[in-house]
């Protein structure tokens, strides 16, 4: 505190970066427009469902299906593990490094109980899609209303 001097420039800068991150959050690819803030874990995941299945999708460009470990635990937990390796060698100069590398692990809670034995995954053009059939107990049921 003793050495801190007020400077309008610093103030403006931090205000600008705050504004920038706010705008990124609202309009960026990885922001959530629904108001939930925070950066998702890696890899970002999209989940959707139809009546019988849950679909979990993640973009993992540059990986092979063999480099991935996919587990379903306890019927409603999906875990994704893997490592993305960096291309190139040491014999050159990096001008830009926007892509991330390294090991990752992510566990997501699924909104339904799934049948772990029937899970299928496919990996095409760097997009992983996992199809998880819902357990019968989790499927919507039509309730018959009897008229007297």
């Amino acid at each position: 505190m003793f050495f801190t001097r007020w400077s309008p420039w610093n103030d403006l800068q931090s205000e600008m970066s705050r504004l920038q991150s706010e705008v990124n959050r609202l309009f960026g690819r990885y922001g959530s427009a629904d108001g939930k803030s925070g950066i998702p874990g890696y890899p970002p995941i999209n989940i959707w469902e139809d009546e019988d299945q849950l679909f979990v999708e993640a973009e993992l460009p540059g990986m092979e299906l063999d480099d991935l470990e996919i587990y379903v635990n306890g019927g409603n937990q999906l875990s994704l593990k893997g490592e993305r390796k960096q291309p190139g060698d040491n014999d050159g100069t990096w001008h830009r490094r926007e892509r991330g590398y390294g090991k990752f692990a992510r566990i997501v809670e699924l909104p339904h109980l799934v049948d772990a034995d029937q899970v299928n995954a496919n990996f095409k053009h760097g997009v992983l899609t996992i199809m998880l059939p819902k357990q019968a107990a989790s499927k919507p049921r039509k309730i018959e209303v009897k008229a007297e």
């Binding site: 998702p40 959707w48 997009v127």
Partner: protein, 130 residues
């Protein structure tokens, strides 16, 4: 940044107006310079070779990958990223032999090889002794 790739031009130019209602994202790229070439790696998940257009015109390299919506007709439960096209432009300097630019696409990663012209390649000068 060397002047081989001068700048990204996405912000300065207005690309042709689009006719499809699909969001467009800027793909992430790595640029690596070697003695004889520049290598660009770009993440284009979901793009197949037939949906990828790479054009070189007026010193600009344009990368446009089209991505079809993947989850239509279903109920979305969680969306942490958007799905859409990828578009990015790089300005290429004089020192690249543009005739020899090559590209490959594997598992959603585009690798672009931009060979340097002979004039800018580093050369070892042999010293002759008497």
């Amino acid at each position: 940044m060397s002047d081989i790739i001068k700048q990204e031009t996405g912000a300065n130019i207005t690309p042709a107006e689009r006719t499809r209602d699909n969001p467009t994202f800027t793909p992430r790229f790595d640029i690596f310079e070697k003695d004889d070439e520049l290598i660009l790696w770009g993440d284009l998940p979901g793009v197949s070779a037939e949906n990828l257009n790479i054009d070189f015109e007026k010193k600009e390299l344009t990368i446009h990958g089209r991505v079809m919506p993947r989850s239509s007709g279903t109920q979305c439960l969680m969306a942490e990223y958007g799905v859409g096209d990828f578009y990015r432009t790089f300005a290429i300097g004089e020192s690249i032999d543009t005739e020899k630019i090559s590209a490959e696409l594997k598992n959603g990663v585009l690798t672009l090889h931009l060979p340097k012209t002979e004039a800018v390649k580093p050369r070892k000068i042999a010293v002759t002794a008497d």
